[in-house]
């Protein structure tokens, strides 16, 4: 049975137009994967000497175990956003003589093969080797490695339990952030010291290999829970059940102020609010807005003036980047309709432009409190906002004309790679890096004011030449019309 499943997986992967069309993207992903492997390898080998150097009077093994709590928190958060339960279209199997349990076991087993589970190995095995070289008992280290693998797998399956519950709720990210945040806070203010608890637990398990049965039992428990959850879903009626979603209708009359782009604005606003995928980009907007708080409170960054426009672009442009990079793929599901309807392409694009510009203005206004960390930050954010409206909106719309990937709006996922082409990756970086480099250069050669002025002038130039720019962009879209229709009408 497993053999059949495996061969189906293989075909699904290599026969998808996704693979055949975007080797560049795959190369990029492999590149990222290799990068992380390298980072973890270096970390694994370097950790022991570094710890010894900075904490000469403490046992590095104990330190690691104490900090493992943070690793687990970070791992859960990362996985929640990035890792999804492997998808398998089960409908065709349900009527075949296949045991439901083997389908479930296969899906769960496949999830254990995730890159997320292998990545830690690249750090812990070198670290273990270093420990043994350093004179730790091999049996203790081996038990410890086994323990970490078990913990990784527990997190792996625990994450799917979290996801299956959060999938049914709106605002699913919030509870997780709250729980993780409060655990962190409890620990940080030493109300309950999870670090010590976990640290001593890990140390004692490593010293008594028989205790490894406890995490093994926990792993069994989360696996069985997952199994039960999935097994329940493996009936057609759960997917056929009509989820008659109540409509939240508002007529959006106010968009009429925008004249002939109004119908598209209404469409876009409904698109954003009524689909999970797009709605998540609104929530990401909130996270993006707070991004500056990672940097500005630290005195180290407060003097790095050249860095401000980068954060400014990010804070005021998070929606622009997040939403804009999937224009026109957001509309891929009904692209044929748009193309055969009586529409002007320019209006369609203009609506996206208006929406993105409004978001930049809104985000800038919301980011004004950053002035608390210094007036230069506010000015840098203002320049970044102008640059975003004048330059980045046009660049991202132009990049969209190279978009050849369909987005299935009905799928949930905050960081679903679906619809992300290599072009989008490439376009995301220069949007942020380029203005930073321009600013940093002039800031260094001349002064702060000149750098800010340059960004603002570039932005204003973009706004002044908006119409000719839009005509060029529209032309590009028209030129790739057939290719886009063809690509969007393919299933992934």
């Amino acid at each position: 049975m497993i053999k059949h499943f495996l061969s189906l997986e293989w075909k699904q992967y290599f026969r998808s137009s996704y693979w055949q069309k975007s080797i560049a993207l795959n190369i990029l992903l492999v590149f990222f994967a290799l990068y992380f492997v390298a980072v973890f390898l270096v970390m694994g080998f370097a950790l022991l000497p570094v710890l010894k150097k900075f904490f000469p009077d403490q046992d590095p093994f104990i330190i690691i175990n104490n900090y493992f709590f943070y690793w687990i928190l970070a791992d859960i958060m990362m996985r929640f956003f990035f890792q999804k339960l492997p998808v398998m279209s089960v409908k065709p199997f349900l009527t075949q003589p296949i045991k439901r349990s083997s389908v479930v076991n296969f899906v769960l087993g496949k999830s254990a093969m995730s890159f997320f589970n292998f990545l830690p190995l690249f750090a812990i095995i070198p670290f273990g080797i270093m420990l043994i070289i350093d004179g730790y008992s091999a049996s203790v280290v081996l038990t410890w490695i086994l323990l970490v693998i078990l913990i990784t797998l527990i997190i792996n399956f625990f994450n799917f339990i979290l996801e299956s519950y959060s999938a049914e709720k709106e605002l699913s990210i919030l509870p997780l952030i709250l729980i993780a945040g409060s655990l962190f806070a409890l620990n940080y203010f030493e109300l309950i010291s999870f670090t010590d608890l976990l640290g001593s637990a890990m140390t004692s398990i490593s010293n008594n290999s028989i205790l490894i049965l406890i995490p093994a039992a926990v792993l069994g428990l989360v696996y069985v829970t997952n199994y039960k959850l999935l097994r329940e879903k493996l009936f057609l009626d759960s997917s056929l059940k009509s989820k008659a979603q109540e409509v939240n209708a508002s007529n959006l009359e106010w968009t009429k102020k925008f004249g002939d782009v109004a119908p598209f604005m209404q469409l876009d606003l409904r698109l954003i609010w009524r689909n999970k995928r797009t709605r998540s980009s609104v929530f990401i907007m909130v996270i993006g807005l707070l991004y500056g708080l990672f940097f500005y409170p630290q005195p180290m960054y407060r003097d790095m003036v050249w860095f401000f426009p980068f954060i400014g672009i990010f804070v005021t442009g998070i929606f622009l980047i997040n939403f804009g990079q999937f224009v026109p793929a957001w509309d891929s599901g009904y692209y044929k309709l748009l193309m055969s309807q009586n529409i002007k392409y320019e209006q369609y694009l203009k609506s996206k432009f208006t929406l993105m510009s409004l978001s930049v203005i809104l985000l800038f206004v919301l980011s004004i409190p950053y002035v608390f960390f210094g007036w230069k930050i506010l000015i840098a954010h203002f320049a970044a906002a102008v640059y975003n409206i004048g330059v980045n909106t046009h660049v991202i719309l132009l990049g969209g004309s190279y978009n050849r990937k369909k987005i299935d709006l009905n799928q949930r996922a905050a960081f679903n790679y679906q619809g992300t082409g290599a072009v989008q990756w490439l376009i995301g970086f220069p949007l942020m890096i380029l203005p930073m480099i321009i600013f940093a250069l002039i800031n260094w050669l001349v002064n702060f004011e000149a750098g800010i002025a340059t960004l603002i002038i570039l932005g204003i130039l973009g706004i002044v030449f908006h119409n000719p720019l839009m005509r060029i962009i529209t032309k590009r879209y028209l030129n790739s019309k057939y290719k886009m229709i063809d690509a969007f009408s393919q299933d992934t």
Partner: protein
């Protein structure tokens, strides 16, 4: 109204459509039949400039469709579900199409209210998104969407598929009424020979991308079509 000149479409060496000449006069109700892969949808997609012809061209009211977009205001179509916007309610979808075609809400309401029978109370005022409707109901919404804005050319690909018998009969009525209105050219493709002969004045049979038959509909047309497609079957059996 519609002139097809020397059009062909080749996919990777396979010729899927090859029509020397086809002329559809204004106001005709035109039926297109053919087995799977005969090129029906390809022809309609070319008409709507959704794919590029390998050779030749199509003019719609003297406008070459792949050179100008001026045919769009008077042409409307429903090809498949990808013409629907899943996250809109049917009303919002109709208003959106109406907006694009210069119709205000009152115009659209006036039009859709004529189709209450056709909708059978399952489309309007249900507070459901199009994506949550059944296949048949989605089709109903799509077909009515294609009637908004007084189009002069209406293209419907397989409109009878997925509809229940009552709705099929009502749809035939609607198409006939439209055809009686002067100046509306209707192009319908179907696998259902009876329905298509019922609603069309003229039937064209496609096979492997070529026009095999071009018939004025009369009492004998259905028999002729049936024997043609049945003949196909025996021919295949003899080959084996």
């Amino acid at each position: 109204m519609i002139e097809v000149n020397n059009i062909s479409k080749v996919y990777e060496g396979n010729k899927v459509l090859d029509i020397d000449a086809l002329s559809i006069p204004k106001g005709q109700s035109f039926g297109l039949v053919g087995n799977n892969g005969a090129g029906k949808t390809t022809l309609f997609s070319l008409l709507l400039d959704l794919i590029k012809p390998t050779t030749g061209s199509i003019t719609n009211n003297t406008i070459v469709v792949d050179e100008s977009e001026d045919w769009k205001p008077f042409t409307s179509s429903f090809i498949d579900e990808s013409f629907l916007i899943g996250y809109l309610t049917p009303e919002e979808y109709f208003y959106f199409i109406g907006d694009l075609r210069g119709q205000n809400k009152a115009d659209v309401d006036a039009l859709t209210s004529q189709f209450e029978d056709f909708f059978n109370g399952e489309i309007l005022g249900k507070k459901k998104y199009l994506r949550d409707l059944s296949k048949g109901n989605q089709k109903k919404a799509g077909i009515v969407g294609a009637l908004i804005g007084n189009p002069e050319v209406i293209i419907l690909d397989e409109p009878f598929a997925n509809l229940d018998p009552t709705t099929q009969i009502r749809l035939k009525q609607i198409i006939k009424e439209l055809a009686e209105k002067k100046g509306v050219t209707i192009l319908v493709s179907s696998h259902d020979l009876m329905h298509v002969t019922d609603v069309s004045e003229r039937i064209v049979v496609l096979e492997k991308g070529e026009i095999i038959k071009d018939l004025e509909t009369n009492a004998a047309t259905l028999k002729e079509l049936e024997s043609y497609f049945a003949g196909n079957l025996t021919a295949v059996q003899e080959e084996e």
